[in-house]
């Protein structure tokens, strides 16, 4: 009984939030998009449209997270990754050519109409009765002196204590309906959101295209990584070992002739080998941090936090370990997000929250810095998004000017 009441209350409150967000947010973004598109012939639109559309995507991402968190189905995210180094025209064309963009805009229309109604209804069923009770309790006196109809509660004309009681009775009826229907109505809204926001026609084709793109990005990234490692080894440890061998050869020759010089060279050889080790250590850390291999993601994140110059609280709730590639991707993505926070946010406190729920690994990074972080060209967060893309992961950034910034990474995966 109490459990059901809590569930109904929660569903009603969530519906209220969704109703407010869907009307205000979707309407604003839709108008902004249309205005921005009209401005394209004037030139201004070329610059503003990508910004607005990025806003739409962030809004849609927030909703994907909300739907998932509130028990709805996961909504696939199928945006094409931006072309590297594209000019503003190319970017605009890419964005407008992306079926996901058109789907987003369609969703905005659905969200501010049908979405608004399906969210408002369960909320109203729960909260409107409160007004009925208030009327019966004496609020009716504000509207009428008892001689005429001063107020309509739904279809009940309130003209005095008796009709106010009728209003309260109607409120009770609404509550009974809410008791049975509110959670179902909310989940209908969540399903509607998914239906509008997720691709339907050609969903598979789109999925294949996204996979091809993310795969290409992954292959490119790993090829670039290998090239970097090769270069680091070639110019670093390898060169040092060559020098070391040379020094030792010279030492061998000098041993009898000039022992003092030989000792000096030996010291140099030792320094070279120590340096080679340091370089190898740094390289290994960049490939796969040893603490990640030894302890898993939780402790690797704790160790990472200990290296940061900013006080960082870490809270981990993982029962098991994710697959090594997922752990690694999550670690490096988080590492990038933290580096960003330390470099740009000016925060003096960072909180990292790592947990696994509903089939997803979820990492939230909150800082008390100045905010204004965006996913976009040149921002480190774009790289993070690409990294996560390989694993169908989602990156959401909430960073109003003035802060605080909250970056959420989510990767669907299982723990073992």
């Amino acid at each position: 009984m109490a459990g059901r009441a809590a569930a109904v209350g929660k569903a009603g409150t969530r519906a209220l939030v969704l109703a407010a967000v869907s009307l205000a947010g979707s309407l604003t973004l839709l108008v902004a998009t249309l205005v921005s598109l009209l401005l394209v012939p004037l030139g201004v639109g070329v610059l503003t449209t990508p910004l607005v559309l990025t806003g739409v995507r962030m809004f849609a991402d927030r909703r994907r997270l909300l739907v998932l968190r509130w028990g709805g189905p996961p909504i696939p995210r199928e945006y094409r990754p931006p072309t590297a180094g594209a000019g503003p025209w190319r970017r605009l064309r890419d964005l407008l050519g992306d079926p996901a963009t058109r789907r987003d805009l369609r969703w905005l229309v659905v969200d501010m109409t049908a979405g608004f109604v399906t969210a408002l209804l369960p909320a109203a069923l729960l909260f409107y009765p409160l007004e009925g009770f208030a009327l019966a309790a004496g609020l009716w006196r504000v509207f009428t002196d008892g001689t005429h109809t001063g107020y309509w509660y739904a279809f009940v004309p309130v003209s005095g204590q008796a009709s106010a009681l009728t209003a309260a009775r109607l409120g009770l009826v609404f509550w009974v309906v809410a008791w049975f229907l509110t959670p179902a109505l909310l989940s209908a809204h969540l399903r509607l959101t998914r239906a509008a926001l997720a691709g339907r026609q050609g969903e598979l084709a789109e999925r294949v295209r996204v996979l091809t793109e993310t795969r290409r990005a992954a292959v490119d990234t790993s090829a670039a990584e290998l090239r970097r490692i090769e270069r680091d080894l070639h110019d670093g440890a390898q060169a040092r070992l060559v020098a070391l061998g040379m020094d030792l050869g010279t030492v061998e020759m000098l041993l009898d002739k000039d022992p003092a010089k030989a000792r000096e060279l030996l010291a140099q050889a030792r320094r070279n080998s120590a340096e080679a080790l340091n370089e190898l250590r740094a390289l290994v850390h960049g490939i796969h941090p040893p603490v990640l291999a030894e302890r898993g993601l939780g402790d690797a994140v704790r160790a990472l936090a200990l290296r940061l110059p900013v006080t960082t609280e870490v809270d981990v709730d993982l029962r098991g370990r994710a697959d090594a590639p997922v752990e690694s991707a999550a670690y490096f993505a988080l590492s990038e997000v933290l580096t960003n926070a330390v470099k740009h946010s000016g925060a003096d406190r960072i909180r990292v929250d790592v947990r696994h729920a509903d089939g997803s690994l979820r990492i939230a990074v909150t800082d008390d810095g100045t905010g204004g972080a965006v996913i976009g060209t040149g921002s480190g967060l774009t790289g993070v998004e690409r990294r996560l893309g390989t694993f169908d992961g989602v990156l959401a950034v909430h960073s109003p000017a003035g802060g605080p910034t909250r970056v959420t990474l989510e990767i669907p995966c299982a723990l073992s």
């Binding site: 120590a274 291999a293 006080t311």
Partner: protein, 217 residues
């Protein structure tokens, strides 16, 4: 002095055995895996154990876990942990019991045989040997403005760094080429500035400094 040594790579294990034997240590056992180490520690009761963090069969932090377990069963069992990389997180776990007799060094430190052997002896005697990289990480996090450490002079910071590694006043004096009296004076200044209680016991002094450095800001 009897040593149990756990290192899975044959070359390194062999080298360490020779190095230690050359400095008159008795090798009670030189093993390659976690379970063997656990058995050797329980049965042979060595004066000090040298343990690689990563050991077979799991190739995770088996050596470290084994050492921590052995110290829980036999508090103060001297353990010197060796690794290819150092993590503050592990140092913290090793120091957590506050019992001393703990070392945590990069494997590279064996390059300097004299200092390495000195570290082994120090740990065996209940002292501490923390890798300079651990201490530098600790200090790096705490040297911003308005931090207690910013009140230290550069020389005092140098002394603090060596002290935190576990070195005695005599060793610090030798390294910095000053008198032991000068070091004692720096030490009492450092303790006063950090608000720590002065202790004549070298080991307790090191643990107090490490605890101070590792405290959350």
């Amino acid at each position: 002095m009897r040593v149990v040594l756990a290192e899975d790579l044959f070359l390194l294990r062999d080298g360490l055995v020779r190095l230690l034997q050359a400095h008159d240590f008795e090798i009670a056992a030189a093993v390659a895996t976690g379970p063997e180490l656990a058995r050797a520690l329980a049965e042979l009761r060595p004066d000090v154990a040298l343990v690689d963090v990563r050991l077979p069969p799991t190739h995770t932090d088996e050596g470290l876990q084994c050492a921590l377990r052995a110290r829980r069963e036999r508090p103060g069992l001297p353990v010197l942990v060796l690794s290819q990389h150092v993590e503050q997180l592990y140092a913290r776990e090793l120091l957590a019991d506050g019992a001393g007799g703990v070392g945590y060094l990069l494997k590279d430190r064996v390059f300097d045989a004299a200092q390495f052997v000195d570290a082994v002896r120090r740990v065996a005697a209940g002292g501490t040997a923390m890798d300079p990289q651990v201490i530098q990480q600790l200090l790096a996090r705490r040297t911003g403005p308005d931090r207690p450490l910013s009140r230290l002079t550069p020389r005092e910071l140098e002394v603090l760094e060596l002290m935190a590694q576990g070195r005695s006043n005599t060793a610090i004096a030798t390294q910095l080429v000053v008198t032991e009296r000068a070091i004692a004076k720096h030490t009492s200044n450092i303790f006063a500035k950090l608000g720590l209680e002065v202790s004549d016991d070298d080991n307790r002094r090191v643990l107090a400094v490490l605890a101070h450095l590792d405290r959350d800001r």
